[in-house]
């Protein structure tokens, strides 16, 4: 029997549905995650999220557990955090990660620090789902990934799946985790399909995945950039270069071991990241490897990232803003010279 395939969007929806059936302390909150709340029944659950990811959950679980919220991210995300600290396990949606600026305090000063400040006497099992990424002509405020910032803050965890399979397993892990987890959904991946088991399963936080094995160079890439790295690897293999593609999946905690092992084997590192280059995941990985696997490196480690600029709107600009497989392949060739 052929394996069942789901899209990334469907995998997320299924993870939420299965977890909500299992545990009735799980609630969902967010702007128009149902849509039409307060309207006559036939107009409710109209959207299921702005890109349809939570569609149908309101209909199944009702208004007590699927809460449309006003546009007040500090208010409702803070409420999710307060609810998590007092016995629920909320999954709140921050529609776009670029909106973190209107609620960051609740994330980095409250969710992230409560447990520490209270000497371990609190737990905050909240999951924040948020959309990341460029490619939809959504311009500077709606196209960032910015997960580097959320990874920076101690007390937060941060994951960014690149496939439907990982999305389901990581989301279930995030929901069950007793710490605040930022779950980053790349909006250009919602249509990507992969085999996804029907039953519930967990991809543990902090475990990287080798998406392609190779011996000549290690490509570390995140979310949509995993696909860019894989395309580059395909291209490179035509000239006999075997790239290993490591997908950390979880940015914080980070599976340092898998990355370091790969580099110890390949002796070369290229990081492919959609975040901007200063104080970002790319610098994080390069510096990790430079410190801990320095003696294994046969060439300077490389970063392929967008430039230190906002995301431009114009399609021609946006397309060349993002790292391309060609750029990655060039960077790899650079390390082999």
């Amino acid at each position: 029997m052929a394996e069942r395939e789901l899209t990334y969007r469907e995998a997320i929806n299924e993870a939420l549905r299965q977890e909500m059936r299992r545990d009735d302390t799980i609630i969902l909150m967010g702007e128009d995650i149902a849509g039409g709340s307060g309207q006559p029944k036939e107009l409710q659950d109209a959207w299921g999220g702005v890109l349809g990811v939570t569609k149908g959950l309101y209909t199944e679980f009702g208004a007590d557990r699927v809460l449309d919220t006003p546009i007040s991210e500090s208010g409702y995300i803070g409420a999710a955090i307060g609810a998590a600290a007092t016995g629920l396990r909320p999954v709140a949606e921050l529609m776009f990660v670029g909106f973190m600026g209107v609620c960051l305090d609740q994330l980095f000063n409250q969710a992230a620090k409560l447990r520490y400040m209270f000497g371990g006497k609190a737990r905050v099992p909240v999951t924040i789902r948020t959309m990341i990424g460029a490619g939809l002509r959504a311009a500077a405020q709606h196209s960032t990934v910015d997960y580097s910032v959320l990874t920076h803050f101690p007390g937060l965890k941060c994951v960014a799946p690149s496939s439907a399979y990982d999305a389901k397993g990581l989301l279930i892990a995030a929901i069950r985790d007793d710490d605040p987890v930022i779950f980053c959904e790349h909006k250009a991946l919602y249509g990507e399909k992969s085999p996804v088991p029907e039953e519930s399963y967990v991809v543990p936080l902090g475990t990287a995945d080798i998406k392609r094995e190779g011996r000549d160079v290690t490509l570390v890439a995140f979310a949509k950039m995993v696909h860019t790295a894989l395309a580059a690897a395909d291209e490179l293999s035509k000239s006999g270069i075997q790239a290993e593609v490591v997908d950390p999946r979880s940015l914080s905690p980070l599976d340092e071991g898998t990355i370091l092992e790969s580099v110890k084997k390949t002796h070369r590192l290229v990081v492919v990241d959609e975040d901007t280059p200063r104080c970002g995941m790319a610098t994080d990985i390069v510096s990790l490897v430079s410190q801990k696997a320095f003696d294994y490196l046969d060439a300077p480690p490389q970063m392929v990232t967008p430039p230190h600029t906002p995301v431009p709107f114009s399609p021609v600009l946006e397309d060349s803003y993002l790292p391309t497989p060609e750029q990655v392949a060039d960077a790899v060739r650079g390390t082999l010279d």
Partner: protein, 322 residues
């Protein structure tokens, strides 16, 4: 409030220009010619034009994701706007901003804003500039019923109230924030009811009627120019299209939509100026033709314009970069 013939011509021209621009954009989006997130202003024309009819070029406004109407009301050129939506080098923002960031600072249009509530503090800033420089410029801050739940609205209104800043907060209550009805997101009847909590006048206007908005905005602008502080105006209005292009609009009752379509602010204005004999049918027809021609020309301009050069990715991040 009395309207001079010249102003009435301007009002009709702006309202119709907005409508024709938005209708065209709607078609272009459906045809796959315009990318991105596009939020249309059609139906709400009386609000932007009713406020901006009191404005000078050196007055300011801050806008929202639904910014095209504010731009046109403030005098931004539609060719640059259309080119911007296409991501062309000749766009108002050189193609770098798109619909959600369309702006024209020279014209006092301080930008659409992709962040709900993002413009309110900026509006206070523009007003502060006027206060410090001792000019009588005023600033309008447009926002939606959804935006009234954001913390920035509260902070900005408080700031404007204690500093008596010349800001007019204009809530465009079109009954929905995306797919969420305002009766769900607010526990009060009117956003204007919040004004009392800041010691500021809270005024309700019929956002489908130019004359009502014009009158109420007039008093607010007078107050602001005279240094008497901010006003909160809530204009009850309705958007004719979906939240954004592509929205199936499956959360609104159809009869509600029809009822509002019947209250079309442009038709309303037309009937009133004809009845009052302020303008003639000829005047209106001429304007309708001219604005259509302007929009068509804008489209041609946009389509024939070049895309920005790739080097443009790297420019305009900073004024000074070592």
């Amino acid at each position: 409030m009395h309207l001079k013939r010249e102003k009435a011509l301007w009002v009709y021209e702006r309202m119709v220009l907005i409508r024709k621009f938005e209708d065209k954009v709607h078609d272009l989006f459906s045809a796959g010619k315009i990318p991105g997130f596009v939020h249309l202003y059609a139906g709400e024309e009386a609000v932007a034009v009713g406020v901006c009819a009191h404005f000078r070029t050196d007055d300011f406004l801050t806008s929202t994701h639904r910014g095209h109407g504010h731009c046109i009301a403030k005098g931004v050129e539609v060719r640059g706007m259309m080119a911007e939506l296409f991501g062309k080098a000749t766009g108002s923002c050189k193609g770098k901003g798109g619909s959600m960031h369309i702006a024209d600072v020279e014209k006092g249009m301080l930008g659409a804003n992709g962040i709900v509530g993002g413009g309110a503090p900026l509006a206070c800033g523009a007003a502060l500039t006027a206060r410090v420089k001792k000019t009588d410029q005023v600033t309008a801050c447009f926002f939606g019923d959804g935006g009234a739940s954001q913390g920035t609205f509260h902070e900005a209104l408080n700031l404007a109230s204690i500093w008596k800043l010349p800001v007019i907060f204009v809530c465009e209550n079109n009954l929905y924030a995306e797919a969420s009805p305002v009766k769900y997101t607010l526990n009060v009847e009117n956003v204007a009811d919040r004004a009392a909590g800041y010691g500021v006048p809270g005024v309700i206007a019929d956002g489908m009627s130019f004359f009502d908005v014009y009158e109420k905005a007039g008093e607010a602008v007078r107050r602001a120019r005279a240094g008497e502080g901010p006003t909160l105006i809530e204009a009850k209005t309705y958007r004719f299209y979906g939240h954004f292009e592509g929205d199936p609009v499956n959360y609104r009752p159809k009869d509600e939509e029809q009822a509002y379509r019947k209250r079309d602010p442009i038709t309303d204005f037309k009937q009133k100026v004809l009845a009052k004999k302020l303008l003639k049918a000829d005047d209106l027809e001429k304007i309708e033709k001219e604005t259509q021609a302007e929009v068509d020309a804008a489209l041609e301009f946009a389509e024939s314009s070049p895309f920005p050069k790739l080097e443009e990715i790297l420019t305009d991040v900073y004024v000074n970069y070592p």
